[in-house]
């Protein structure tokens, strides 16, 4: 077989694997969209939140895995998206405070605008920072998230400050209200699309450049890849996903208050990514689902009067979730820096190899 044929055969095999993967993704997304209609009323909200956070985590894992940069402020982009879409539907009027539903724009349009606002802010922050060492972006994004959060209080005539605001309009598409199970289905459909886009991004020309950047930055730069621009693209993509998730969040909760957007939310996204593995988009979804579920369970646990014989104070839920997530982040980064899930899967594969007696180099 000449070299050309080998290349063509390889390309064909890659395409076939691509098709199988695509079909699996479509099937999984279909299942994820069907699932909320089978869930009980109380579980739908939790499931919806998993999807929203998964959108944010997918963007962050690409940034952390391929750009070697960590954002401690994805919650800020989530916040911007949520308040952008929520407030746009109410109409902003500086004199009469807000709440003029007639003046607001259509919720669907508002949700569509949200990711662009977050992305624009990411461009502003990202341009000067992408050439710097990781900790600068970490602190800059954290600062941005804190600024956004403080503005909620400083501009309380628009945002309602600590009391928040109720989003009165409902998201409707062609006369159908997107609420409850339908909303969750839409969110998970978007998760599927985000996964597809991300996989394409990773395997495209841009993606190969990104992998080169991740593997060896000076070498990538030497072979003509504009490292800073590629990192910026990832940062903006991640911000846009967070903005989209925030935009949808407005019509999930129909209420916007500062508690849903605190700094801890930004840090939770980092925990989700570290569970799923840096750079693994499917891992990010697993991380989001795990963290939302664990947080929910911890909240239940924390409201008990006593736990294992200890009296729990009223701050129990906070203590439990801060403690567990802090410890989780430390342990994962210490012992499984490439992510908890990939290490576990790697462990399973190693055991299986040993059982079947196959050599290590085998596919």
């Amino acid at each position: 077989m000449n070299a050309d044929a080998v290349v063509r055969a390889r390309a064909g095999r890659r395409r076939r694997i691509g098709t199988v993967r695509l079909l699996a993704l479509v099937a999984a997304t279909g299942f994820a969209c069907w699932l909320p209609f089978q869930l009980e009323q109380g579980e739908i909200g939790l499931y919806d939140r998993m999807g929203l956070y998964a959108l944010v985590a997918i963007g962050l894992t690409l940034l952390m895995g391929f750009a070697g940069q960590v954002s401690l402020g994805q919650g800020g982009f989530f916040l911007i998206g949520a308040y952008t879409s929520g407030l746009l539907t109410m109409g902003l009027d500086a004199d009469t405070r807000l709440v003029d539903p007639e003046a607001g724009i259509d919720p669907l349009l508002a949700v569509a605008i949200a990711p662009f606002v977050s992305a624009a802010i990411a461009v502003l922050i990202g341009i000067p920072l992408m050439r710097l060492r990781g900790h600068y972006l970490a602190f800059a994004t954290l600062a941005f998230a804190l600024i956004a959060w403080s503005l909620l209080y400083a501009q309380d005539r628009f945002t309602g400050g600590q009391y928040g605001v109720t989003v009165t309009k409902r998201l409707t598409v062609g006369g159908h209200e997107i609420i409850g199970a339908t909303h969750a289905a839409v969110v998970w459909g978007l998760v599927g699309i985000a996964l597809l886009l991300s996989t394409n991004l990773v395997t495209s020309r841009t993606g190969r450049a990104l992998q080169a950047v991740a593997a060896n930055e000076p070498a990538a730069a030497a072979s003509g890849i504009n490292v800073a621009r590629h990192k910026l693209q990832l940062f903006v993509f991640a911000a846009a996903l967070a903005g989209l998730a925030g935009g949808l969040f407005s019509f999930y909760a129909q209420f916007l208050g500062p508690e849903d957007f605190g700094i801890i939310v930004s840090l939770l996204f980092v925990v989700m990514v570290s569970i799923g593995g840096l750079g693994s988009v499917y891992g990010a979804v697993v991380g989001a689902v795990t963290i939302v579920y664990v947080e929910h369970k911890l909240r239940e646990l924390g409201t008990h009067e006593t736990l294992l014989g200890w009296d729990l104070p009223s701050t129990g839920p906070s203590i439990l979730s801060l403690g567990v997530f802090g410890l989780l982040l430390i342990l994962i980064m210490l012992f499984f820096p490439h992510g908890l899930l990939p290490s576990l899967l790697g462990g399973v594969a190693a055991v299986r190899r040993r059982l079947h007696g196959r050599p290590r180099g085998d596919i």
């Binding site: 070697g68 960590v70 401690l72 922050i125 000067p128 920072l129 050439r131 710097l132 060492r133 990781g134 900790h135 600068y136 970490a138 602190f139 800059a140 954290l142 600062a143 941005f144 804190l146 600024i147 403080s150 503005l151 209080y153 400083a154 930055e217 000076p218 700094i263 801890i264 840090l267 980092v270 570290s274 104070p313 701050t315 906070s318 203590i319 439990l320 801060l322 403690g323 997530f325 802090g326 410890l327 989780l328 982040l329 430390i330 980064m333 210490l334 012992f335 820096p337």
Partner: protein, 282 residues
């Protein structure tokens, strides 16, 4: 004009704390290459410990004990943050310290509750200088920050341990080749920085009550101060701290108290952006 000078005086005193934390961050960064996100936690721990211990003993003794305990905690943080040799990258270390900061909030909340704590200052009198009130606590803070800057600079330049700290960050491999133990170096740097930040926290609490969650804003303000010198200069971190403190107070006095953190953060963002012209990654 009196108002202006009053705000500047208060600004220099709060700025001293930012400077102290900023210099601690610089020390740790120069020795280990790690930006310690949990640095502000040490100030909070020391402040809350002083408050609790102060109920059973004299305040100065409580303050000294609190500082020592915090330095010991800082050595533990060092061991965890440095991580596993050859596996834990600096970015991973940063994320580990983020985890430590989150965990610390839980521990502090469980141990001390959520009420912000304060105790009496070195003196409850104030000097009146041409209408400007200067509390002795402000003077102490400013002097401590200055002394720390001088002390750290001399320590890094003229002592063998200081040189070892700088060397191990400049070239970890070379430092190991000449027999330096990087983990010990990190432990020393974290302990010194932890004790310094603890002193800042002990002196801060009488003027600004500290709560379990204050660590984050202290870390951020300290980082903003340190960024002025690109995380490398003790001197510029000191100046940065003072400047940041004064700017924040002027905003509180003349614009709107709600905007003080926002302005500080915007200043930091601009500074980082400005820094980015000089320093490249990798």
């Amino acid at each position: 004009m009196t108002t202006f000078f009053q705000l500047v005086v208060v600004g220099i005193s709060t700025g001293s704390v930012f400077a102290i934390v900023g210099m601690s961050l610089v020390l740790v960064y120069r020795a280990t290459g790690i930006v310690n996100f949990a640095q502000g936690v040490f100030a909070v721990l020391a402040g809350l410990l002083t408050y609790s211990l102060g109920k059973h003993m004299s305040l100065p003794l409580a303050a000294v004990l609190a500082t020592l305990v915090t330095a010991v905690v800082a050595t533990l943080v060092a061991v965890v943050a440095v991580g596993i040799r050859g596996r834990t990258t600096h970015l991973a270390s940063l994320i580990i310290t983020v985890g430590i900061a989150i965990l610390a909030e839980a521990v502090l909340l469980a141990a001390f509750g959520e009420v912000p704590r304060s105790y009496s200052a070195v003196s409850d009198r104030a000097w009146d200088i041409g209408g400007v009130l200067v509390q002795p606590q402000y003077a102490v803070l400013t002097v401590v920050a200055l002394a720390a800057a001088v002390g750290l600079t001399l320590f890094l330049r003229h002592t063998i341990v200081g040189q070892a700290l700088v060397a191990s960050a400049d070239s970890p491999r070379a430092a190991e080749l000449i027999g330096l133990n990087l983990r010990s170096v990190a432990v020393i740097a974290f302990a010194v920085a932890g004790a310094l930040t603890a002193i800042g926290g002990v002196l801060l609490a009488p003027t600004v009550p500290v709560a379990y969650s204050s660590g984050l804003s202290i870390t951020i303000n300290g980082f903003a101060a340190a960024v002025v010198g690109g995380l490398a200069s003790i001197r510029l971190a000191l100046l940065g701290g003072y400047a940041l403190g004064v700017v924040e107070q002027l905003v509180i006095g003349y614009v709107d108290p709600q905007y003080n953190l926002i302005i500080a953060l915007v200043v930091m963002l601009v500074l980082i952006g400005w820094r980015s012209r000089g320093e490249l990654a990798v």
